[in-house]
Symmetry: C2
Subunit: 322 residues, 2 copies
């Protein structure tokens, strides 16, 4: 099993603190009024790369030793992780290669390039791009930085829970948008260490929900449908190590309707004037769907990122709900 | 002349600090790359009411003494000031009456109501609503809280400059979206006290620019045209006291094209995924228009608010520039 302790997360926080922003924790009156929960947002979309992923990436970078810094790193991702690694590598004074599949749109490719990473475009999907990245790691000695399985990544992502609970210690529940599960595990480990009573829930959309069956049946199951989704950051098949770890510390997985998630994007724009990406909006969706577990509770929503395409955002904001 | 000193602003900061957010100061690589300046954003749109106005309002509230707290306050404004006073009054444990003209749209009226203020709708324009507010002040003993002429308001707004310069002390220039001029004067007084070399520029749109002639000719002149503008927070005629004060501490007034201002809204949404109101976007507009004074300089942009209507925002984001 992947080994990550609260001590790892505490040490990660000390390492990465100079490089990350202590993002605002904001009370939402409109969302609280609507849902009957006391709702708070942790605005990690305000991190310099527009997403919390800088926490895990930076912890990996600061954990590199001597020779590793010289040889550099390699990562695979079509999303925020590649930007985070590229950005973190520059701050650490090392070099990064980022592998993306051919389907990756130009703006996501530019995300890595603008921080000076070398871009390798390879294969039809993430799995192939990841294989290529491992190959580059073997051939060049670069360290492979996994987006969610690396203990350093998980520990780094967990720092967001420390930051929130030191600011407000009495949350009943934390809602965690969940893709690979690095954030989910890191947050659960840190939160439970600070308050064993707190509930930690992973969120996926009904358009890509491999966590639901895998978690409930305690074995990897990627047989669910994978449909187009506004929460692109959460999309895709998962792997066993993070599920295994989550089973030790996470309370449950909630599946949020695609439509309620889109409504969450519009709600945040209309009520708070925040642009958030679909992954983050699953927190709003889960609250709108009135899960019994959240009623009357103090709920912390992790607003994980804001990297949403402007056209897509405006289309969603022009939709009609209710 | 209105009397506001650096000491007043320092004291205001101590008074209001428990009630305001220390908002993020963010470096913008895309804007710096485009403009050839080193551009930073102070995200005061993240204050709880979505605008910096809470600073001045809260300083007024915390400066109330004994009997004044019992009698309550009254304000006039169709914009962020009324929300700020309503919100601040609640925190102070006093009551507020807010006067708005009949033209005030429902969502702006709700802004004051949701924090428990009493709403008085009166007259065709701001001037009439203000007269009504003064009348209420006389009749009820409530203290009138002016949106930009009160020394407490100016001192409160100036705290944003202290906050920025304590975080990064070497700015060459500050861009200040300017309506009545309370923020402009407060920022200039604080910034010059911390660094006499720093330049402070007030920004208006070409659709409502009474500051330009008034400042340059050193006498009040509201004869400019007042046209529809996306920067509604800056719109309208001005008064002499703030101009008189600005002449002692402000370096210049820049007039920004309405079109470049709209482009600024779109730019922030596209590059940073921030929703900002038109007033704030004048900072981007001024940079895009390549003022000689800003070239190669370290420029602080005050992002004063994010309270923009979602329909209007999406319309602007769908426009084509260049």
């Amino acid at each position: 099993m992947i080994q990550v302790s609260m001590k790892d997360i505490v040490e990660a926080y000390a390492l990465i603190q100079p490089y990350i922003m202590k993002t605002p924790l904001i009370y939402s009156k409109p969302t609280s009024d609507r849902t009957g929960s006391e709702v708070w947002f942790k605005m990690d979309n305000l991190q310099s790369i527009g997403a919390y992923k800088i926490r895990g990436a930076m912890n990996n970078m600061m954990s590199l030793r001597g020779e590793e810094v010289k040889k550099g790193v390699v990562a695979a991702s079509a999303g925020n992780h590649s930007q985070a690694v590229a950005y973190g590598a520059r701050l650490r004074g090392t070099s990064a290669v980022v592998c993306v599949p051919e389907s990756t749109p130009m703006n996501k490719r530019e995300g890595a390039l603008k921080y000076g990473a070398e871009l390798v475009v390879y294969g039809p999907n993430y799995e192939e791009a990841e294989k290529k990245a491992y190959e580059i790691a073997r051939e060049t000695g670069r360290k492979f930085i996994h987006a969610y399985e690396s203990p350093e990544t998980i520990a780094g992502q967990g720092t967001v829970a420390i930051e929130c609970l030191l600011e407000k210690g009495d949350f009943d529940a934390i809602l965690v948008p969940t893709g690979g599960g690095g954030l989910l595990c890191g947050v659960a480990i840190a939160a439970k260490a600070m308050n064993p009573e707190i509930k930690v829930y992973g969120l996926q959309t009904n358009t890509s929900a491999p966590w639901l069956k895998s978690f409930h049946e305690k074995r990897l199951d990627n047989s669910c449908p994978f449909l187009p989704t506004c929460a692109d950051g959460l999309e895709g098949a998962i792997t066993w190590p993070n599920v295994e770890l989550a089973l030790t510390c996470v309370d449950d997985i909630f599946v949020v309707d695609e439509r309620t998630t889109r409504e969450g994007i519009q709600w945040m724009a209309s009520k708070h004037h925040f642009m958030i990406e679909g992954a983050s909006a699953t927190c709003l969706g889960a609250l709108f769907e009135e899960h019994e577990e959240l009623k009357g509770k103090k709920v912390l929503c992790l607003i994980t990122g804001g990297n949403i395409d402007l056209d897509k955002f405006c289309n969603i904001c022009e939709e009609t709900y209710e």
